[in-house]
Symmetry: C2
Subunit: 290 residues, 2 copies
Amino acid sequence: MNSANPLVPGLSLNTATVREQWNLAQMIEACARHGIPGISPWRDKLAELGAEKAAAMIRAHGLSVTGLCRGGMFPAATEAGRQAAIEDNLRAIDDAATLGAKCLVLVCGGLPAGSRDLSGARTMVRDGIAAILSHARAAGVPLAIEPLHPMYAADRCCVNTLAQALDLCDEIDPQHAPLRNGASVAALGVAVDAYHVWWDPELDSSLARAGANRLLAYHICDWLVETRDLLLDRGMLGDGVIDLRSLGRRVRAAGYSGFDEVEILSRHWWSVEPDVVLATIRERHPACVA
Amino acid sequence: MNSANPLVPGLSLNTATVREQWNLAQMIEACARHGIPGISPWRDKLAELGAEKAAAMIRAHGLSVTGLCRGGMFPAATEAGRQAAIEDNLRAIDDAATLGAKCLVLVCGGLPAGSRDLSGARTMVRDGIAAILSHARAAGVPLAIEPLHPMYAADRCCVNTLAQALDLCDEIDPQHAPLRNGASVAALGVAVDAYHVWWDPELDSSLARAGANRLLAYHICDWLVETRDLLLDRGMLGDGVIDLRSLGRRVRAAGYSGFDEVEILSRHWWSVEPDVVLATIRERHPACVA
């Protein structure tokens, strides 16, 4: 990495943060320029460039790929729909392997259209993950179940607490099987996003339960008061009420040793000049590190 | 009750549902007219009429008071602020006693202004409830801790799951002390609102744990897909994705035998002619009863 700015160790940019301003090639170049050593692409951005070309460019800029967003979306009203989701996840695993991504993040999906059967959707998620795990292991790509905030239970993800995500991991992979012989992480684990879990009264016990083995990714942004939109009003680090310093310390105390990946879905920050967004993240990040 | 419509047993109207259209006197009269045998006033509406006058009018119309909304809001940045909250809760208990309300609903409060200390706020909630419980018992008014959806953790209520609410109950009242000798309910329990808890993967075990003893109120409305506002976009029964029939059955199987209280905070339903709102609730309610 040959940066115009001092390197910020352990910082990663999730491409959703500047998705409205830049394409993936611009983001890769900007991360290197801003001294941000990690990147986590979404698949829409990856598709623009192609996985092979993106992987080469990311390598050439010396960046780590802290995750690929996203697989998942398993529940569907029909068997054909569920099978299509599984096939799409297999392709995502292959892309994550091409990128050398540290994990494929799974946003598991909500209720099928017209359904009120939350328990049934959760079963579909379990079955979907079970159907792709062996391919992920063979490809060397850990699967990271991301529990999403309960306000997304209906339409995006019916896995809504870290404890529930870990229950899923233990049900599908009771042995905590390592990704490969000697690997420090399991092939199946979790992505912890501050925005989704900060409120959880059982968070500390769940983090301890996850441990180094299952903690595959850590995403950060902030919860604004007041939040004006359920999806697109996440806050810049430090602008909200999440005690990110404390949370980061607790995540690391539980055994996580990876990057802090900044993922801010925000109409406001999408309207800001993207170099300013990255400079702001650089500037705010130290206060989020214990 | 002398109703123009057939009585709908077990149905109650929370005044928030038509708060923009009617005053409390109009609501009391309308409940009787629509065959809705229960009412649960908010304190802003109660203040218009006064507790004594409201109690007399509610009695004259043969309605049950299924709760008074709301006490709580315990956390504050200063000791004086916390003391003021406690005094306000004591007045709310007295008003609930005057009304013969089945409980005082506690919306416990979020983070004090400028604070990121969620754990500290939760301690303030515990201390606040502990400070008012003996007054509630003396007044014969059970306190119902209402866990609010995690999306309100910052600004309205830092008690966000039923399990957490029950942990609070057990910490403050380890004996599950009955309201009075021979009473079937404890002096401290919970209000379960479908909107706040429907997503919870641990809901069934928590309901069973609560039991008849701690289950003091059951509120219903629906979760819309898509939800456009965090506070004021609740759905009419049947318009969303909550399986209210299943949930009602589970709540009753856990021992609850009280009313279904309809509480819909919704800009849409506040714009509708209120007799239409009540007629819609009447019409939709049977599908929510097991």
